[in-house]
Amino acid sequence: MDKYENEMWLTFQAKSCNEALARMAVAGFLTPLNPTLTELADAKTAVSEAVTNAIIHGYEEKEGLVELWCARTGKEVWFSVKDYGCGIEDIVTAMEPMYTTKPEEERSGMGFSFMEAFTDELLVESVPGEGTVVKMKKIIR
C-alpha cells in the first residue's frame, strides 16, 4: 500500500522565475483538499520562502537544481524543498528572526519566521558543502 494518498515531485533549475512555478504547483496539489484562501496563502508563502532561499543562499544565484516534494494523507500535507548548495553552518542562528547573511541584497531575514508561522511543523537539515533540506507539515482544517 502507498504510504501517502498523493505525492508530487517537481525538480527545476535554481532560477528566480521558478519561484512562481513552485507556488502554483503547491496550490494545485492542495486544491482537492478545499483549503481556505488563508491556508492556501500560508502554504504558498512557506514554500516560496524555502525555494527562494535555495536559489539565493544555497546556490548563490548560480546553477543548480531545486527539488520540491509534496505529499498528503487525509488533512495532513508535507512539503520539502531540497538544494545541493553551500549548506548552513549554524542552523539555529540562521533561523533567528531578522537574521540574514545578505543584507546588501535587501533580504529581510524573515524567511524562516514566515515558514514557522505559516506551517504546523518546520524541520531544517543541512550539511555545509552538501546542501539543505527544509521540511514542513501543514494541516488543512
Binding site: S16, A20, T52, E106, G109, F114
Partner: protein
C-alpha cells in the same frame, strides 16, 4: 510579464504591482524604482497592491529598502490596495507601522508632502 507599472505624479513615484511580489519581481522593482527616483527627484513612493494578491519576505525587503532610501530625504512610503493576504504579511513583519496607509492612489496624491 512585467513586475510593475511606474508613474511619477505630484511628488510621488507610483508603483503599480502587476505580478506576485517575490524575489524574482522584487529585483526588477528595486532596479526600476531606484532609477526613477534618481531621475525624477521625487521623494515619496507609493506601492499600489490592488492588482496582486501575493507577497513574501522578498517584498518586505524591497519595501524596507525604498523606505530607508526616501526617509533619508524626509520622504515617505505609502501603500494602498493591499488584500487580506498582503496586509497579513505586512502586519507580521511590522512594516505596516512605518508605512503611510491610503484608501486610494488619489488620496495619496492629493496629500501634498
Amino acid at each position: 510579464m512585467q513586475a510593475a507599472e511606474y508613474e511619477i505624479r505630484e511628488g510621488w513615484l507610483l508603483i503599480r504591482l502587476c505580478a506576485d511580489l517575490d524575489h524574482h519581481s522584487a529585483m526588477a522593482v528595486r532596479e526600476t524604482a531606484d532609477r526613477m527616483l534618481e531621475r525624477s527627484g521625487v521623494k515619496n513612493v507609493l506601492f499600489d497592491f490592488s492588482g496582486i494578491d501575493f507577497m513574501d519576505s522578498s517584498g518586505i525587503g524591497v519595501i524596507m529598502g525604498r523606505y530607508r532610501q526616501v526617509s533619508f530625504w524626509g520622504g515617505r512610503v505609502g501603500v494602498t490596495g493591499a488584500s487580506e493576504n498582503i496586509a497579513r504579511i505586512m502586519n507580521f513583519s511590522g512594516l505596516n507601522k512605518i508605512l503611510s496607509h491610503y484608501e486610494t492612489v488619489e488620496d495619496a496624491v492629493k496629500e501634498t508632502v
